[in-house]
Symmetry: C2
Subunit: 292 residues, 2 copies
Amino acid sequence: MTRRLHVGLVQLAMAPDKATNVARACAEIGAAASRGATLICLPELFAGPYFCQTEDVANFDLAEPIPGPTFDAVAAAARAAGVTVVASLFERRAAGVYHNTSVTLGPDGALLGTYRKMHVPDDPLFLEKFYFTPGDLGFVAHATPTAVVGSLVCWDQWYPEAARLTSLRGAEVLCYPTAIGWQPYEKAEWGAAQLDAWRTVQRGHAIANGVFVAAVNRVGHEGPAGAGIDFWGHSFVADPFGVVLAEAGEGEETLVVELDLDRIEQVRRWWPFLRDRRVDAYEGLTRRLLDS
Amino acid sequence: MTRRLHVGLVQLAMAPDKATNVARACAEIGAAASRGATLICLPELFAGPYFCQTEDVANFDLAEPIPGPTFDAVAAAARAAGVTVVASLFERRAAGVYHNTSVTLGPDGALLGTYRKMHVPDDPLFLEKFYFTPGDLGFVAHATPTAVVGSLVCWDQWYPEAARLTSLRGAEVLCYPTAIGWQPYEKAEWGAAQLDAWRTVQRGHAIANGVFVAAVNRVGHEGPAGAGIDFWGHSFVADPFGVVLAEAGEGEETLVVELDLDRIEQVRRWWPFLRDRRVDAYEGLTRRLLDS
């Protein structure tokens, strides 16, 4: 039996207010579904501007419990469209414990799985360690009606360990809600290389694991003119051999891309990397450095 | 202090007889050194044709102890040129225990380090599990006069674990002696994607680890016309951001490429992936699958 699905990547710019962003994202879920998508992924923290450019305790007011209002709105959109949705939320778990969390919602709106961002960055304008407690659910994959889906989030993209562990859990498609962009002062010199590195390392995950990779970024400039972040878009899907099946530009755009899941078995038969992993010799991966 | 070196990638086609191949490789070591290279890498099993296309016990006669005649010849060439050489040898360790081994030889011809190929393939025309006992030295890096060098070998290229562990050992440059090519029947349909996947996954290692990667392949057709392997060349060097600094074509060619080792510190400061590894959550990497 041929197993195929269409994945929808919703690349959006964010408005200042949550209601607008949630409504637009839900509308795009419906639109992507009408184009045949059965698995739809939203950008990282799609409910608002990327607030991690500064450290401000007032921003914790943006967090919501799961379930909560934004979760409920996305669940209703998933149910209305009859599709699976991967949505990235700012989770209020308890007073003082907030997470950057990705939820996978089924076509009936039910929660199929939760992932809390494991690798949390802290770099100029990406001050996430202030806001997000590191994930404590490990790396997970969830069965959905059309594929086994593993969600990871943004900074996780740079970690082969994250892609590997999620794939070992059985993921067929890795979905990465993302908020990555250029800082204006560096764009001219380093922008092209940064974008290419981001795309390349994720294509590498697809190849090393024999899985599909879908990265869904936001677009638009956020912050003061000449400063802030230019979110670079370029959401893309790579097949299990790292071939880019589709890639968005730098404006709002929803990609709907067919995935042939049988390609996973085909690629892994011809390039059986998982067979030959030296699991007897990988213990050092649990160390920071091997310098002693 | 600026730390720079020139790396030499010796991309060769192999003759049927060992004496010719060893002499040509040694001559290229001298030639690359005369162009300024101080670290020179040879292709995988450069002493002969790629014998793993068939399973034949007579081929074990090709193996040599380390040190042995081929080792001695390369050591003499390294000493004569005053350079460090990474050389891939078919090692006879004991009766019935043979390895696919990479040695790092210093400018005085002394053995600086040994790596025995950890990931051993077994695919049509790459029947290495018949010949090579899996490596038992783990993943290693060796100080040389110009850089800390980690050698891995060919099939290791597909394993993020290998690149990561070698980098955690302190490697600044990952050298991959390689023998990879197309099987003629698949070249038209899959050839370009295979080459691109091979290049991409290794560029991903450079990015994920903030290290230089040098892959050194052989070229030429070996085997019957219309069958056998077309070794695809395309030896290349990537910088710590995955940028390809130089890439060879599909014929014999020696690349000499300047590496600015200070770029490692620069890239890792701006993209501090090693800082945020979740070493508390990687234990599953020592498992075959996480399916239970």
